[in-house]
């Protein structure tokens, strides 16, 4: 995606603190996200992930510190212009209930260009295809969709205007394991092909490690670790991270026919238990 700045940092948090009254939600967050990165954020509920995310498109203002997008302080940027360049897939996929799927997805393109309806129409169908929704859903209203379908519409809506930055807040929370796999593949592909910078919040460490070029682990408003997936997996920085990745560290990637060769695998233990009966 073209940009006039020579700066190759897409998003930067400079000593961000956020407190609601007495309660501190984010403490001294410092983070630079280079253009084209895929950052996954993980952490327990209430750790400040959504808060950090919404600071990028100025839905939340920090108590202190500065957020820069494309090298510009967001406070000095027109929020409307800022947001139109940032796709936002909201936690819980909040669709507009009075609009059809088609109207929802074309919401942002329609805000931007009011004339080229044909282009928007085509774009909507392309995105429907990418997120794996059949086109006969276009006329439906959100209340007539399943939770997973709604989430996919939410993703399509976030991407429809081809933004430079994509914020995704638990976008795959309500889809089944298999669809989730497909969507993960799709979002990776979109990221690869468009070079879009992605911030992706998830509760699933597997997903975080698989998708992220870098992973940010948050707990109680404090950064526990920020690094490449391998680094997180190989050298957990704190007890919290260690606990988070322990399953992944123990996971073994033996092919199906060799699973029982490792006596610690679930398959081998289950077989042993059956034999003992």
């Amino acid at each position: 995606m073209s940009t006039t700045t020579t700066n190759d940092v897409a998003i930067e948090y400079r000593d961000i603190c956020k407190a609601y009254g007495e309660k501190s939600v984010l403490e001294h967050l410092n983070l630079r996200i280079p253009r084209g990165e895929f950052i996954t954020m993980i952490g327990s509920s209430g750790s400040g992930k959504t808060t950090a995310l919404k600071m990028v498109n100025r839905l939340i203002e920090p108590t202190s510190g500065t957020v820069l997008v494309d090298g510009h302080d967001v406070r000095e940027t027109d929020p409307i212009r800022l947001r139109r360049n940032i796709g936002y897939a909201i936690q819980g996929s909040v669709l507009f209930p009075h609009m059809t799927v088609e109207e929802n997805i074309s919401y942002v393109p329609n805000l931007l260009n009011k004339h080229d309806h044909e282009r928007t129409r085509k774009a909507v169908r392309t995105w429907m295809d990418i997120v794996g929704l059949p086109c006969d859903l276009l006329e439906r209203y959100p209340s007539e969709l399943s939770g997973g379908q709604q989430q996919r519409v939410g993703i399509a809506r976030a991407l429809a205007a081809s933004p430079d930055i994509l914020l995704m807040d638990e976008p795959f929370g309500a889809v089944d394991e298999i669809t989730r796999g497909q969507l993960q593949v799709e979002i990776s592909r979109i990221h690869r092909e468009t070079g879009i910078t992605v911030m992706f919040v998830t509760h699933d460490i597997g997903e975080a490690l698989r998708l992220g070029t870098h992973v940010l682990v948050l707990d109680e408003g404090k950064v526990q670790q920020y690094g490449a997936s391998e680094e997180i997996l190989a050298r957990p920085a704190t007890a919290f991270v260690e606990q988070l990745v322990s399953r992944q560290r123990h996971a073994c990637d033996l092919p199906e026919d060799q699973l029982c060769a490792c006596t610690h695998s679930g398959a081998a233990r289950a077989r042993a238990a059956l034999a003992a009966m």
């Binding site: 936002y88 909040v94 919401y107 006329e139 809506r157």
Partner: protein
Amino acid sequence: MLAQSWDLLVQRWDFFWGLLLEHMEICLVAVLIAIVFGGIAGILISEYQKAAKPTLAVVNFLYTIPSISMLGFLIPFSGVGDATAIITLTVYALLPMVRSTYTGMTNVDPAIMEAARGMGGTRMQTLVRVQLPLALPVIMSGIRNMVTMTIALGGIASFIGAGGLGVAIYRGITTNNAAMTVAGSLLIAVLALVVDAILGFVEKRMRARGAKSHRTNRRLAIGAAAACAAVALGATVPGALAGTGGIIHVATKPMTEQYVMGEALKMLIEHDTNLKVELTEGVGGGTSNIEPAMESGQFDLYPEYTGTGWAMVLKNEGTYSEGEFDQLQAGYQELGMSWVGMYGFGNTYGMAVRKDVAEKYNLKTYSDLARVADHLTLGAEADFFEREDGYDALCNTYGMSFGNTMQMDIGLKYDALAQGSVDAIVIFTTDGKLSTADATVLTDDKGFFPSYQCGNVVRDQVLQQHTELRGVLEKLQGTISEQDMARMNYEVEEEGKDPKTVAEEFLRSKGLI
């Protein structure tokens, strides 16, 4: 009763249909203004929350003002007639509109609003594309309530001389025609129900989703808009066309005899001249509302009573007697008005005794009555016993004291007199029932009661503009005696005749038309 009302509706459908149209027009205008301004206000206060509380407090306050007082406050500013009615209805419609808009707008799921903001919509785009459509169901149900309420409240419009079905209700009440009151009320109820059903249908259509129903909705909306435009056009065009010849605006008070005189004036003026008469019948509050409208030129002519003019308009103290007519006329000249065409009857307090009592004691005057009052029982309304110039003053003037007194409702006095439970009653000299009562009206030989001779008060400007008018009004001079008027009142109130018919018969009998 219902059958009577039904017959009346069928017989006089043109009359009711006209009122129904007027009613719809007045309500439609008020509702549209309220939707636009109430809607805008509701949206604004949902955007600028700080203004919400004071604004809602103000509209709440306006809402608590009784409608009658609201009309009273407004008359000095906007006069009698449709304008005041529409303003009043609008004010009452504002509260439900502002409140439902505000509630609808603020109750939109904040998560959805944040999503819309996060997508990069401007405030205006978010408002128009997301917030307003989502608030619409709440706003719509507010509108539905508001419209029903406005239609019902529209019934009071006639109180201040505006049109609408209230005219029938009010006329029914003042001329003792219950069937007419019921018919008017029924039509209001039916109108409210029908409109509510239509709006319910609109609500349902709006909730219907999908491309096909959207297309149908668009067609229905266009049809409805066209229908509204047609009604509005039908309302304004004839009015605009009628403005060619001279129009005399005649007002009457809410009294049976005034309904008759109004019709007679209209018929006679239109018969003798090229002038058109626009009749505003039964203006609530009588003189206190008609007189200011005369001064502002809204009305040109109305039948008034000398004593009332003397006390209420010229604000003179003391009892008026016809010897002071020149002073009265002079006082009115200063207001730019004249008394033209004194009908010949007075509508004043009087005293009547049963005929056998009159014969037994040979009673002709109040002084005669005073001699024997202690043997007699007097019946009168509560009001007469309370007012300063009422019972006590009468007794003082004539040195009379009744053996017994009874308070009774105006409608029961004549029955009580006939049955013998009272011997004398306080009457109005043109009471319809007096014309058939077996009673003798006594003479007020000391002139205790002020004189209330009936005549036309006309604006001088109109008399100059339409010189032919004076001659017409003078034809009415001395044409109606108190007995005549009482009989005509009787025909309307007790025999259920239409005031117009009675007026026509009267004019014919006098060879005036």
